[in-house]
């Protein structure tokens, strides 16, 4: 069958060259890697006793979580006396329990755990503490305070509060100002907390009314879809708070597609793309409220201090604190340069 084989040959060649092209296109390497954020140590900088830190985080399937892993890794590298034993990220509770148990069996000195689900990993946290391995609980809190020695994390309520305050101050002289909110997924408790904080802050400004709220899924795609609907529903408003900069990429795209301007947009989390836009000052995005991924670096600092039985420099205590709640700073054009190195992709 010469005809078939010739056709086969043509298709084969086409497929092979297409494949060759495709494999050449998986590279995502930017020109150069930015160095990690500033390296001011929280604990005493002098090298001390060697500490092995076990790190278990969820699967880094979006920018913020990815930044968490990178921050932890690069921070550990700055210390000559720290070895980081990081497990593969997992979103599956059972898998993550297994990973933490492996780290317990390896007898690491300190554990840093960012649970996929805080409540579900409480038992394994307790197990580690009973085995004499202190646990630093990162961000998503365990159900039982006995399951961790120190909790360090962000403040979702405070994030909403600061976003509301920033928008309130910008609009306080504007009569009948209208605000819309593009939230994260309603199924997460943190979304409810952020919204509560935002609403509470706006209560201080009687001239401002929240006219609409829609929930996206922390994805670009959902951000675009929900924002497009919001823009259609509200022919005019003065400010928008978007909970997450990842979905904000989509939201900005929707704003651009609808050709709308004349309002102030505030983001959330602190992605580099958002900070770049704030710095360039060429879109509606004027500020973003941080939910700093540098908390992972701080957790490594705290873990090291714990392993070496030290306190934190700048505090007179001999031990590290039991909980550290980070401040959600508002980044706008004034201070963006300072925060730009912490922005994540």
């Amino acid at each position: 069958m010469p005809e078939t084989s010739r056709r086969g040959l043509l298709f084969g060649t086409a497929a092979v060259s297409a494949g060759a092209f495709l494999t050449a296109c998986t590279s995502n390497e930017p020109a150069k890697k930015e160095p990690a954020a500033d390296s001011r140590p929280a604990a005493d900088d002098k090298p001390g006793k060697h500490v092995t830190i076990g790190f278990a985080g969820p699967q880094a399937d979006h920018g913020w979580l990815n930044a968490i892993n990178e921050q932890a890794r690069s921070r550990a590298e700055t210390y000559s006396d720290v070895t980081l034993d990081a497990t593969e990220g997992s979103n599956d509770t059972a898998a993550q329990i297994g990973q933490v148990e492996t780290l317990i069996n390896k007898k690491v000195d300190v554990l840093v755990i960012l649970p996929a689900d805080g409540k579900a990993l409480t038992q394994v946290g307790l197990k580690a503490m009973r085995a004499g391995i202190p646990v630093i609980n990162l961000d998503r809190v365990f159900a039982d305070p006995q399951a961790y020695r120190c909790w360090v994390g962000g403040d979702n309520y405070g994030m909403g509060l600061n976003a509301g305050k920033y928008i309130g101050e910008k609009l306080k002289d504007k009569p009948n100002a209208k605000v819309v909110e593009l939230s994260g997924p309603d199924s997460l408790e943190l979304t409810q907390q952020r919204t509560k904080g935002f609403d509470d802050a706006l209560k201080n400004y009687p001239n401002i009314r929240k006219v609409a709220r829609q929930a996206a899924d922390f994805t670009v795609e959902s951000g675009q879809a929900k924002m497009a609907q919001l823009l259609q529903a509200q022919s005019s408003f003065d400010a928008l708070w978007n909970h997450d900069d990842d979905q904000g990429v989509g939201a900005l795209r929707a704003v651009q597609q609808a050709g709308r301007e004349g309002f102030l947009m505030v983001g959330g989390a602190g992605a580099k793309s958002a900070m770049d836009a704030i710095k360039a000052d060429n879109s509606v995005l004027k500020a973003t409220v941080l939910y700093p991924p540098t908390m992972a670096a701080s957790a490594i600092d705290l873990a090291r201090a714990l392993g070496q039985s030290k306190g934190i420099s700048g505090m007179s205590e001999l031990e590290i604190p039991a909980s550290v709640t980070l401040f959600s700073a508002v980044v706008d054009k004034q201070n963006v340069d300072q925060y730009l190195p912490t922005g994540f992709n």
Binding site: A18, G19, F21, L22, A24, C25, T26, S27, N28, E29, P30, Q59, A60, D61, H62, G63, L65, N66, P185, D186, S187, V211, A212, R213, Q214, A215, D217, F218, T219, V220, E221, G223, Q224, A225, K226, A228, Q229, L230, Q232, A233, S235, D246, V249, G250, R253, Q256, Q257, A258, G259, A271, S273, N345
Partner: protein
């Protein structure tokens, strides 16, 4: 639209009838609308004919009835859509009934719409493709890597389509020649394509900087007020309709879905047909990925989340049989439009996600119930 759709149906049953025994698919599952309706048809419209004749030759007996039925099916879905439009028009007249909202609804429908056209083919052939969302994600991130973006517009388009086709090829080979069940093979593809997408992005959002691609999503590029995305969606729909209803390929698809063994005995290369169908679904995912890149201006590994369910739901609501043997592109597209319009009305009325989800479920049930009612009403 109606008679060709009935022909598509007839091809399947006719091929099945050629083998002698009636199709096991339709006779053994009395729950499916097809079987129920076939029973209705024989009972109500063909009361004069003997039961023996009506079961032995469903093709000749069912032909006029089938045409009417499919017409009613699409009409009732149009009725649901009309009811939604009235609700939207009453609750938010200014926002809902504007041109910009029509553009918005159609644009939002275009990505999932293109996927659904491919899915309709696969389901019509008795298969299922659970990997469409994952393929879409993989194609969209592969096409937006820094390396691909250096090739500009053409590079992005080519990569999106080629990745979609490649995934479809793997699906098709595994199912047609590897003998795997479609559910399992595409489930495996779902997992690995998402994994690969995650590996390529490393969890990052890849922003598109190619201006010619971005330009296609803004109002300046609208042709006579129609967004380019909607034009692509319309083109895919028309081509899909033509292929399913007017070509041998379409007839073969229906025949394979009606009764694969009968189709094989009738001389159809069933395996090759299946391979082509999954390739087609992959191609649609690739096109949809490109549309999504234009729409969202970026690629992300979370793209296309749960699209498989949305596409299947739209196809089923539209009247495509989950067991195969009958498919309608027009119905699927109407199904997609119903879903998108619901979402749009909810958002315009500022309903929150909890209410949205409850109401969406209720409306799906209501739509299907209304459809069944009108079907009976239309035939008696």
């Amino acid at each position: 639209m109606t008679p060709p759709a009935s022909e598509a149906q007839q091809g399947g049953t006719g091929a099945a009838a050629a083998s002698g025994p009636p199709t096991p698919n339709t006779t053994e599952t009395p729950n499916t609308p097809n079987a129920t309706n076939a029973a209705n048809t024989t009972n109500m419209t063909k009361t004069s004919s003997t039961p023996n004749a009506s079961t032995a030759s469903p093709a000749s007996g069912g032909r006029p009835g089938l045409g009417l039925r499919l017409d009613v099916r699409n009409l009732s879905l149009l009725g649901v859509l009309l009811a939604l439009v009235i609700v939207g028009g009453f609750t938010r007249p200014e926002q809902f009934l504007s041109t910009s909202n029509l553009q918005l609804v159609l644009t939002q429908a275009s990505v999932i719409g293109v996927v659904t056209v491919g899915m309709t083919f696969v389901i019509t052939s008795g298969g299922i493709d659970l990997s469409v969302g994952a393929i879409l994600a993989l194609a969209s991130v592969w096409a937006t890597t820094v390396a691909t973006q250096e090739y500009g517009f053409g590079g992005i388009l080519f990569t999106a389509v080629a990745v979609g086709l490649a995934c479809g090829l793997v699906n098709g080979l595994l199912i047609a020649y590897g003998g795997m069940v479609p559910f399992i093979a595409t489930l495996a593809m779902l997992a690995s394509a998402r994994g690969l997408a995650l590996q390529i992005t490393e969890g990052k959002t890849q922003i598109v900087t190619v201006q010619s691609v971005l330009d296609l999503g803004v109002p300046d590029s609208y042709v006579l007020g129609i967004p380019p995305l909607v034009l692509v969606f319309a083109a895919v729909t028309v081509i899909g309709w033509l292929v399913l209803n007017r070509t041998t390929f379409g007839r073969r698809t229906v025949a394979v879905g009606g009764n694969a063994e009968a189709a094989r005995l009738a001389g159809i290369d069933v395996r090759r047909q299946r391979l082509y169908l999954y390739l087609l679904s992959g191609l649609c995912c690739g096109i949809a990925a490109f549309l999504l890149i234009i729409l969202a201006g970026s690629g992300q590994n979370t793209n296309g989340n749960l699209y498989e369910l949305d596409a299947i739901a739209a196809a089923i609501i539209g009247g495509t049989l989950l067991t195969g043997g009958r498919g309608t592109i027009v119905g699927s597209v109407l199904g997609v439009l119903v879903f998108t319009t619901i979402t749009n009305i909810f958002a315009l009325n500022n309903l929150q996600s909890d209410v949205q989800q409850i109401a969406k479920g209720a409306i799906i049930v209501a739509a299907v119930l209304i459809q069944r009612r009108t079907l009976r009403g239309g035939e008696s």
